[in-house]
């Protein structure tokens, strides 16, 4: 089943663009996890190219190589995530820029662009709404243990506001 050449061109272009996007992300992002994902994106671009060639030539070899790259990606993921754990334990951050002292001894440090003067958007976490009204208390149990349990609940509800 030799494929048509326009189809191969399409696959090559999509693979090239995926690889390019991966390399741009890898160069420019500073989060270790995002950099790892970008490396995986580059591997995906190569896989698309290989599968495109496989379909074009009607041979299995492209798919076999794509399977090898899948296994390589798995090995890389294992090593990379283990390294992230160690680096996070040592540096308490996923920022790659704090590892700049691994550079060559005669190289000047690259000054980090800081965001200190940028108004940081406050992180808004989702909150559960208070679940309905408090049940009406019967006068019989008003002064009972239920009442003594209330201040904690009321206090936490006030804390949410």
């Amino acid at each position: 089943m030799p494929g048509s050449e326009p189809a191969l061109n399409n696959y090559l272009i999509v693979g090239a663009l995926l690889f390019t996007l991966g390399i741009v992300g890898f160069l420019t992002r500073r989060n270790l996890i995002v950099m790892f994902l970008c490396a995986e994106l580059m591997l995906q671009g190569v896989s698309v190219t290989l599968v495109g060639f496989s379909g074009y030539h009607g041979s299995w070899s492209g798919q076999v190589f794509a399977i090898f790259s899948l296994a390589l990606a798995a090995a890389e993921a294992g090593i990379a995530l283990a390294l992230f754990v160690v680096l996070f334990r040592r540096g308490h951050s996923l920022d790659v820029s704090i590892w700049q002292d691994l550079r060559e001894a005669d190289q000047p440090p690259i000054p980090d662009e800081t965001t200190d003067d940028e108004p940081q958007a406050e992180q808004v976490w989702p909150r559960l709404a208070p679940a309905g009204l408090l049940p009406a208390r019967s006068p019989k149990t008003a002064g009972e243990p239920f009442e003594s349990a209330m201040p904690a609940g009321a206090g936490s509800e006030r804390g949410l506001r």
């Binding site: 999509v14 160069l27 040592r90």
Partner: protein, 312 residues
């Protein structure tokens, strides 16, 4: 060596300019220029979408960038690449995304899947939150496995989803364990040299796409087929070939053929990959299992610089 560098660079640049000028004389130079412009538009859009810290002045930067990137994607679909088939030289103006004699449905499906992959890849590298990055990467994988299916790689498509689903879940775990406790980290809002890296990506993609044009032109002119990256399909002779997915019978089952190719033609590579995976597992255990001293008192003093992103 260093003293000769300016002379060397000047001669190289003049050489490149000569080549560029002669390339513009070629018959398909308009196409090359058009795809270059489209890629430039995409690069500018990507630059506008990237997190750039305090330089993210206007709120509409991301919207403008997304519009530019989408525009370049849509325009890229209309670029023609001349095919190298000599007998259809008069009709070589096939649209980039058209699939020749194949059905329209195949072309449309490819179009949709490629758009899903590329758009999610852009969103993956531009989103500020690593959780969203991982989610977008999952969408990239879905699009890619669809593309694999379209080319008759069914096992690979399933394996991609299965293997990477585990990887994505593990990445989620890592994001939740490592990134979330400190909230929105500053380093996620600042890119390192976004302009330069977009330029790098632009050059890389231009070279890759331009190589396609170049090889197609070689083919069209004829006589230079062996330097092309697209040899005609008949040159390649193989013992085992892909079964036609449209005439699938029990005699040429997909996985059976793939297994034959894996374990007959590439059996040594399979063994090597197995050993590599074993080594990776052992290495990961060695790296991650190594005890680190109590947090904050390691002797390298890196915690001083690392602390600044943590809320006190």
């Amino acid at each position: 060596m260093l003293a000769h560098f300016p002379v060397l660079a000047a001669s190289r640049i003049s050489l490149l300019a000569d080549q560029f000028r002669s390339a513009l004389q070629q018959p398909h130079s308009g196409l090359v220029l058009r795809s270059l412009l489209i890629l430039v538009a995409g690069g500018v859009g990507l630059y506008l979408m990237l997190p750039r810290g305090r330089h993210t002045g206007r709120r509409f930067d991301r919207i403008i960038g997304a519009a530019l990137a989408t525009l370049s994607l849509v325009l890229l679909a209309t670029v023609e690449i001349p095919t190298g088939l000599a007998e259809v030289e008069s009709a070589q103006k096939t649209l980039l995304w058209s699939f020749g004699s194949e059905s329209k449905i195949t072309g449309f499906t490819f179009y949709a899947l490629a758009a899903i992959s590329l758009v999610s890849a852009v969103m993956m590298i531009t989103s500020r939150n690593p959780v969203y990055s991982a989610l977008w990467f999952a969408v990239v994988l879905l699009g890619n496995s669809g593309l694999f299916l379209l080319q008759g790689a069914e096992f690979l498509s399933a394996a991609t989803i299965i293997v990477y689903a585990g990887a994505i879940v593990v990445t989620f775990l890592f994001v939740i364990m490592l990134a979330q406790p400190s909230g929105a980290a500053k380093y996620d809002h600042v890119s390192r040299e976004p302009l330069l890296s977009c330029l790098t990506g632009l050059i890389l993609s231009s070279v890759l796409v331009g190589t396609l044009h170049y090889s197609a032109r070689l083919d069209v002119r004829g006589g230079a087929t062996e330097t092309s990256i697209l040899p005609s399909a008949e040159i390649i002779t193989l013992s085992s070939t892909l079964p036609d997915s449209r005439h699938r019978t029990d005699a040429n089952r997909h996985v059976a053929g793939l297994g034959k190719a894996l374990f007959l033609d590439h059996v040594v590579s399979v063994e090597v990959i197995g050993v590599l995976l074993l080594a990776a597992v052992v290495g990961a255990m060695l790296i991650a299992g190594h005890p680190v001293h109590a947090p904050g008192v390691n002797e390298t003093g890196r915690n001083k610089t690392g602390r600044n992103d943590r809320p006190s």
